[in-house]
C-alpha cells in the first residue's frame, strides 16, 4: 500500500517470556479509521504503543508515516497525536494551560499555541471551563480535553487507546460525535476498543485480536456477514426449564445456523429470528424473555474465539 500511514509485518512485542503481540501484519491507509477490537490482554495496547513509537518492537518490521520508529521516533511523534488509555493531563493546571504547554513540546510558538487552544477548546466544548483547574472536571470532560490536546499539532495520524472506556453513555456519544467530525476532516485514526458498538460505529475497517494475534480482518459489516447470521434470537429461561443447545438445534433443524450457550442465555443464529422464536414456542419451550436483534461484532468475536468480549 503506497499511501500507507502504518505498515507492519510480523510485528511482535515480548515482555520477558510473555509474548503480548505475536507477529501481526497491518496496513492503515490515509483517511481511514482503523480499529483494534479485542478483550483486555489481547495485545491491542501493546500494538498501539509500538505504533505510537514509545515502545520498541521486539521483532518484525514497522513503518509509521514512512519512517522507522526505532530510528525516527521523535520525528514521527511530532506528527502524530496520542490519546492514551489513562488520562495524563496535568491536574493542577487549567484546561487552557494543558493545551498551551502540550503544544509547546511540539515546537510550536507561544502565539501559535494560544490561537490553537481557542480552536481546540471550542472543539472539546470546554470554552466555558478554560480557566478552571482540570482536577474537578468530569470524566467525559477530561477525556475530551485529552483528545483535544492530542490535536494540538494537527496530527496526520491520531491514535486513540480505548477512547470511551469508563464514560457514561451520554459522554461516550459526545466523544464519538467529535471523532466523526475528525474523520470527515480526513484525520486518519487508529482506535482500540473492547466495545463492539464503538468499533461498529467508528471504524471503516478493523482487526479482531485475541491472544496477541489477529483472528479476523475487514469492515464491520463484512465481518458480520462472514462470521455471523443476519439475525440473532436471544433466549433466557428459568434454569430448570432451560433446554440444551442441542435440543434447540434439533427443534430448529434447518432454520438455524448454530446455537451458542452462554451462562445467562442462549443465542440462536438464524436468518429469521421471528420464525425461530415461533418454532421454539411451538415446541413447548417457554422462555422468560426472547429478543430478536441484528448480528453485531460481539457475535463475530464469540464465533471466532468462543468467548464474549466484555465481561
Amino acid at each position: 500500500m503506497a499511501d500507507g500511514l502504518v505498515q507492519a509485518r510480523g510485528l511482535t512485542k515480548r515482555f520477558g517470556r510473555v509474548e503480548a503481540v505475536r507477529g501481526i501484519d497491518l496496513d492503515v491507509g490515509r483517511g481511514e479509521v482503523f480499529g483494534f477490537l479485542g478483550p483486555n490482554g489481547a495485545g491491542k495496547s501493546s500494538a498501539m504503543r509500538m505504533i505510537a513509537c514509545v515502545s520498541p518492537r521486539s521483532a518484525g518490521d514497522l513503518q509509521v508515516l514512512g519512517m522507522d520508529p526505532d530510528r525516527d521516533g521523535p520525528a514521527i511523534r511530532s506528527r502524530i497525536g496520542v490519546v492514551p488509555q489513562l488520562d495524563n493531563l496535568d491536574l493542577e493546571l487549567s484546561v487552557r494551560q494543558n493545551l498551551h504547554l502540550y503544544g509547546r513540546y511540539f515546537g510550536l510558538s507561544r502565539s501559535a499555541v494560544r490561537a490553537k487552544a481557542v480552536e481546540l477548546l471550542e472543539f472539546a466544548r470546554l470554552t466555558e471551563r478554560a480557566e478552571d483547574e482540570v482536577e474537578p472536571l468530569s470524566g467525559g470532560m477530561k477525556r475530551r480535553l485529552t483528545i483535544a490536546r492530542a490535536l494540538v499539532n494537527d496530527p496526520e495520524l491520531l491514535l486513540l487507546d480505548e477512547p470511551t472506556t469508563g464514560l457514561d453513555p451520554q459522554a461516550r456519544h459526545l466523544v464519538w460525535e467529535r471523532l466523526y467530525r475528525l474523520k470527515r476532516e480526513g484525520v486518519t485514526q487508529i482506535i482500540t476498543t473492547h466495545y463492539m458498538d464503538e468499533a461498529e460505529q467508528l471504524c471503516d475497517r478493523l482487526v479482531v485480536m485475541d491472544g496477541g494475534v489477529i483472528v479476523a480482518e475487514g469492515a464491520p459489516h463484512e465481518l458480520i456477514g462472514r462470521y455471523s447470521t443476519r439475525e440473532v434470537l436471544e433466549l433466557r429461561f428459568e434454569p430448570e426449564h432451560r433446554p440444551s443447545g442441542d435440543v434447540l438445534s434439533g427443534v430448529l433443524a434447518g432454520r438455524v445456523e448454530r446455537v451458542e450457550e452462554l451462562p445467562d442465555r442462549l443465542l440462536v443464529y438464524t436468518a429469521d429470528g421471528e420464525a425461530a422464536q415461533a418454532a421454539v414456542t411451538a415446541a413447548g419451550h417457554r422462555p422468560l424473555a426472547a429478543l430478536v436483534r441484528r448480528s453485531s461484532l460481539e457475535d463475530v468475536f464469540l464465533r471466532l474465539t468462543g468467548r464474549t468480549l466484555v465481561d
Partner: protein, 276 residues
C-alpha cells in the same frame, strides 16, 4: 503525499531545546502552584535561620568555645551558608521522590511529554534543570532575608548560593534515577529521608564543625555531599579561610561526579521506564 504530509505542524526541538521546554513546563506549573511549595523551599529554611541563627545564635553569643569553632564570626553569619546548602539538598531530595514517581504513576505527566517529540532523557534532564533553577531562586530569596537579619558577610554569599545549587543537584540526580525504578513508593521514600537526608543534614557541618564529632565517625562525613557543599559554601560566604586548593578541587570533583553519575543513571532509568 506531499501536501497532506505537511499538515502536521509539530517539529522536533533540538536536544537542548527539548530540555528547555521541559524546564519551561515546570516553570509554568510553578507559576500557578508556587504557593504550595514556597513553604518548604523558602519558609522552612527561614525558620531554621530564625531558630538557629537568631535564637540559638543569641544564646551562644560571647561564648569563647563557639567563637573558636566559627573562627570568630557571629553564629548567624557562620550558619547561613550551611543552611542554604542544607535547604537546597532537602528541596532537591524531596522533589526527586514523590513528584518524580507521580510523573510516571499517578499523574503520568511524563508519559504525556514523551508521547510527543520529547525523549525520556530530556524529561530527566529537564527535571534536574528545573530543580537547579528552583533552588537557585529559593537560595537567593533566603540569602536576601538573611542579609536583612544581618547574617551576610559579603557578596561571597552569591557564590555560596551557586554551590548550594550544585550540592542540591548532586543529591537530586541519583535520587531521581532511583525514583524512576520504583513501581510503588512503599517504604523507600521515608527511608531515604530518615536514613540519608536527615543524618546528612545533622552531621555535615551545617550546625557545628565536623571536627567536633568523635574520631570514629569522621570518615563517614566525607561521604556526605552536603559536607563537601557546606565546606565550599561557607568559605565562599565568609570570604575565607578557604581549605587548601587540592581540598577545594576535591569537594567540587566529588559533587560534579555525583551529579554526573546520577544524571547518566537518571537518563537511563527514565528511558527504561517510559520506553518499554
Amino acid at each position: 503525499m506531499a501536501g497532506e504530509a505537511d499538515r502536521a505542524t509539530g517539529r522536533v526541538p533540538g536536544p537542548w531545546g527539548g530540555v528547555a521546554l521541559v524546564v519551561e513546563n515546570h516553570w509554568e506549573w510553578y507559576r500557578r502552584n508556587w504557593r504550595a511549595t514556597a513553604v518548604s523551599t523558602v519558609v522552612q529554611p527561614l525558620l531554621f535561620v530564625l531558630a538557629f541563627g537568631v535564637g540559638f545564635g543569641a544564646l551562644v553569643r560571647g561564648s569563647g568555645q563557639v567563637a573558636a569553632a566559627t573562627g570568630g564570626v557571629d553564629y548567624l553569619v557562620w550558619i547561613a551558608p550551611g543552611l542554604l546548602a542544607m535547604s537546597a539538598v532537602q528541596t532537591g531530595a524531596f522533589d526527586s521522590t514523590y513528584p518524580v514517581l507521580s510523573g510516571f504513576k499517578w499523574q503520568r505527566t511524563y508519559t504525556a511529554m514523551t508521547a510527543g517529540p520529547i525523549t525520556p532523557g530530556q524529561v530527566a534532564l529537564g527535571h534536574l534543570g528545573w530543580l537547579a533553577v528552583k533552588t537557585a531562586g529559593a537560595g537567593l530569596v533566603c540569602a536576601a532575608v538573611i542579609a536583612l537579619l544581618g547574617g551576610v558577610a559579603g557578596p561571597g554569599i552569591l557564590l555560596a548560593v551557586l554551590v548550594s545549587v550544585l550540592t542540591g543537584a548532586a543529591v537530586a540526580a541519583p535520587i531521581t534515577a532511583y525514583s524512576a525504578t520504583l513501581e510503588t513508593e512503599g517504604a523507600s521514600f521515608p527511608a531515604i529521608f530518615r536514613f540519608v537526608v536527615i543524618p546528612m543534614t545533622l552531621f555535615s557541618g551545617t550546625f557545628f564543625p565536623v571536627d567536633r564529632l568523635p574520631e570514629l565517625v569522621r570518615p563517614l562525613v566525607g561521604v556526605s555531599p552536603l559536607w563537601h557543599g557546606t565546606e565550599l559554601a561557607r568559605a565562599a560566604a565568609l570570604g575565607g579561610p578557604w581549605p587548601p586548593w587540592p581540598a577545594v578541587l576535591g569537594h567540587v570533583a566529588y559533587l560534579l561526579a555525583l551529579l554526573g553519575v546520577g544524571t547518566v543513571l537518571a537518563v537511563r532509568t527514565f528511558t527504561r521506564r517510559l520506553a518499554r
